[in-house]
């Protein structure tokens, strides 16, 4: 009996050990013959390549480590924007899928069936190479909302110019902390005395009032720089000033959002459908208003069903953002596993770092969501 338990484990260990040692030995041999050495010292060397779009200060004189950071931030930027938009769109479509209105229901299910059955890469290519290429050149672009231009070279819009931004930022953080404590206090008060405080209005007042106050007395000032068209040569125009969103970013976010929203919509629909009609009727029969029914009875239960699969979709979206490399948006894969690897030739280290980064992001998101999921799970006593 004992041997039955130990033997398979020893075999598994042996198998794993053999494979790993086989690979490491080969790798060592191969690197010796090619004159490569293993190490992460290259991260401090100057990268000497440029990156088209960067959230932090970067040029060729910065190190590979800095280039890695630029790529990582670009990846996170796409992921965060995509997650926010996909959640909103998915929730709307998911609710629309359950609408009593025939047209809305059919439109929503058409949307879901259409976008989720086409490969994401194809959608990214479609938006980038076909749809966004049909936009006008800078000189022909029309003014949108008085400040922006949608052109083939990207979306140009007004850029905010801050004075004393740090004070404003501190005030914003302070406001959020205050709201957090106020909400806690209000909940305690309600539990003890049964008195409801107008939490939403006071929170909004703090959130808007405190940062606004810094404008009046903190010396914070905000002005905008608008994009202005300028002729570069005979037939080429560009914009000066303002803020530019590159078309790669637009295509990528658009495709990721539209694709992931279909899956989130299905989760939302399943979540709402998973709650028995009796819950709603019971809540109504004890005199809750429709909005209270939704807020206190339906949503807390629906969220329990919705959150675990939606976490998976967030993870998928983050991992799918690596398709950016296909349309040359400078994300982690393109900058680091692409350009940096070509230049340094350190395949093992760079692919290793890239994979470890994605693993960390994935594990972090799933830990966060697991924690949240546990918080809202049924507290059985």
């Amino acid at each position: 009996m004992k041997i039955k338990k130990i033997l398979p484990q020893i075999l598994t260990l042996l198998f794993i050990f053999l494979i790993f040692s086989f690979f490491t030995m080969n790798a060592q041999e191969n690197m010796e013959t090619r004159g490569l050495d293993f190490g992460f010292g290259f991260l401090k060397e100057a990268a000497s390549f440029d990156i088209q779009f960067s959230l932090i200060d970067y040029d060729g004189s910065h190190s590979y480590g800095r280039a890695y950071l630029v790529g990582l931030l670009n990846t996170l930027l796409v992921a965060v924007i995509g997650i926010i938009f996909a959640t909103f769109l998915g929730a709307v479509i998911g609710v629309a899928r359950l609408s009593p209105n025939y047209l809305i229901k059919k439109t929503a299910s058409f949307y879901i069936e259409f976008f989720r059955n086409i490969p994401l890469l194809l959608q990214i290519f479609f938006w980038y190479f076909a749809a966004l290429r049909a936009l006008p050149m800078p000189e022909d672009a029309t003014l949108l909302l008085g400040s922006s231009f949608m052109t083939i070279k990207g979306f140009y819009t007004a850029a905010p110019i801050w004075k004393n931004f740090d004070i404003f930022f501190v005030a914003l953080i302070l406001a959020i902390v205050l709201i957090f404590f106020f909400a806690k206090y209000a909940k305690k008060k309600q539990e003890q005395e049964g008195k409801q405080l107008p939490v939403l209005i006071i929170s909004l007042a703090i959130f808007i009032g405190l940062p606004a106050l810094t404008f009046l007395i903190g010396g914070v000032d905000l002005s905008f720089s608008f994009p202005v068209i300028r002729q570069m040569s005979q037939s080429s125009y560009t914009f000066d000033g303002g803020f530019k969103i590159p078309p790669e970013l637009i295509a990528l976010t658009l495709a990721l959002t539209l694709y992931t929203a279909t899956f989130i919509a299905e989760n939302v629909r399943a979540g709402i459908q998973g709650i028995g009609i009796g819950q709603k009727e019971a809540a109504a029969s004890i005199g809750l208003t429709p909005s209270q029914v939704l807020k206190l009875v339906i949503m807390p239960q629906a969220l329990r069903i919705i959150i675990p699969p939606t976490t998976n979709q967030y993870l998928n979206l983050t991992k799918n953002s690596s398709l950016a490399a296909a349309i040359a948006y400078p994300d982690l894969v393109l900058v680091f596993a692409g350009t940096a690897m070509m230049q340094t030739g350190k395949a093992i280290e760079i692919v290793g770092i890239t994979m470890a980064t994605y693993l960390t992001i994935s594990l972090a998101i799933s830990l966060l969501m697991n924690w949240y999921n546990k918080r809202i799970a049924i507290q059985e006593k």
């Binding site: 338990k5 398979p8 484990q9 598994t12 260990l13 794993i16 086989f22 690979f23 080969n26 790798a27 041999e29 191969n30 690197m31 013959t33 609408s99 009593p100 209105n101 025939y102 047209l103 809305i104 439109t107 069936e113 259409f114 989720r116 059955n117 086409i118 490969p119 994401l120 890469l121 194809l122 959608q123 290519f125 479609f126 190479f129 076909a130 749809a131 290429r133 991992k319 799918n320 690596s322 398709l323 490399a325 296909a326 894969v333 596993a337 690897m341 395949a347 093992i348 692919v351 290793g352 890239t354 994979m355 994605y358 693993l359 994935s362 594990l363």
Partner: protein, 426 residues
Amino acid sequence: MTINNFNLLKSKFQKKRNISLIVGILLFFLGILDFCLNNFQNKNITFFLPGSISFFTPLIFAVIGLHLIRIEFSGIKILDKLNKNINTSNFNAALSSCIILLLIFALPPLLNWFIFDANIAGDTKEACTGGGACWVYIKVWFNRFMYGMYPNAEQWRINVTFIAVLLFMAVGFFVPNRLRNYLSFYYTILLPIISFILIYYIISGGSFGLVWVETGAWGGLSLTFMVSFFSLIFCFPLGMMLALGRRSNLPVVKYSSLSFIEFWRGVPLITVLFMSAVMFPMFLPEGTYIDKLIRVVVAITLFEAAYTAEVIRGGLQALPRGQYDAAKSLGMGYWKMHIFVILPQALKLVIPGIANTFLALIKDTPLIFVVGLLEVVGMLNLAKTNPKWLGFSMEGYVFAGIIFWIICFSMSKYSQSLELKYKTDR
């Protein structure tokens, strides 16, 4: 006897009701007419109103029209159906009119592009004179999109192989009942070997008088099918083993399966393919060369196996404990219990999940462009840079989109029907 016969409201409100009906219908169609004139004739019949209001007049007319025809029970069948389905409240009416107007706005140009202004006759770019899609481009490049760079004269080999593999796959429908028990063995072990031999000897060639065609020349939709087919049949047994390992009582087996699964689920496929392309050769002895296609299939298989494992684990967890206990009480060992009692029930439960994983796999195949294999999307990107055929990327992507949509949609419908079929006996 219809309920109309004793509608008490009839005599009193009949006249008023009819007027409101007629006015409502008129207003609704006025809104649509206004919208059509605005869009297709460039005429604005409400020019006297200020710009923004004039823009919204069609919507306003349509909503007021729908409001007027919203009658509790009219006795007119079509009207009642309309009211019940798209016109239950003002809000719903507004949304419905928005959708109707949007359809009127979007459908005619789309249809024009697709069919009426499109060109399909001819063989050159110059044949595309209309403003619509240039299907000539697809026609000329069709063989490339289907077979990649595979030589034109040899393409029958791919067709023959595919038909043969399909026939071997269909064997399951024809075997006599007494051989049925061996089917899973056939599908998991024999079929992959047979298909590999067929593909190796017929598509690759090199013997029996067939010309050798290297895998770099394979491509197009046929490559998509080959990659997904092999990844599918390999990732399923592997995923099953991993799922069993993940639920095993033996700590070493459990945690090695767990870390394997979590590793592959945590990284994007594109980095896995990068790894198979640039990192993997470093891990092999000097001078060994494994074909690019095989490396890609292995990478995708390992990647998807982790997802399949998680799906199957869900099914294993959903089975009631009693099933395990009953099997054990009959004296079954671990393998016997799983093969004859647990897995058949668990797999039945996870059909939709498995189908979703397979769909994801098919949708992931275009990513193999990373290692330089050009399946249909990769071929599109290559064809689009051809100087003779510049500017037809839209047609190409639409074409590939339709192909993938048909494959994925029919597969998901099939999985739904399977799910229903197997649900009845539980």
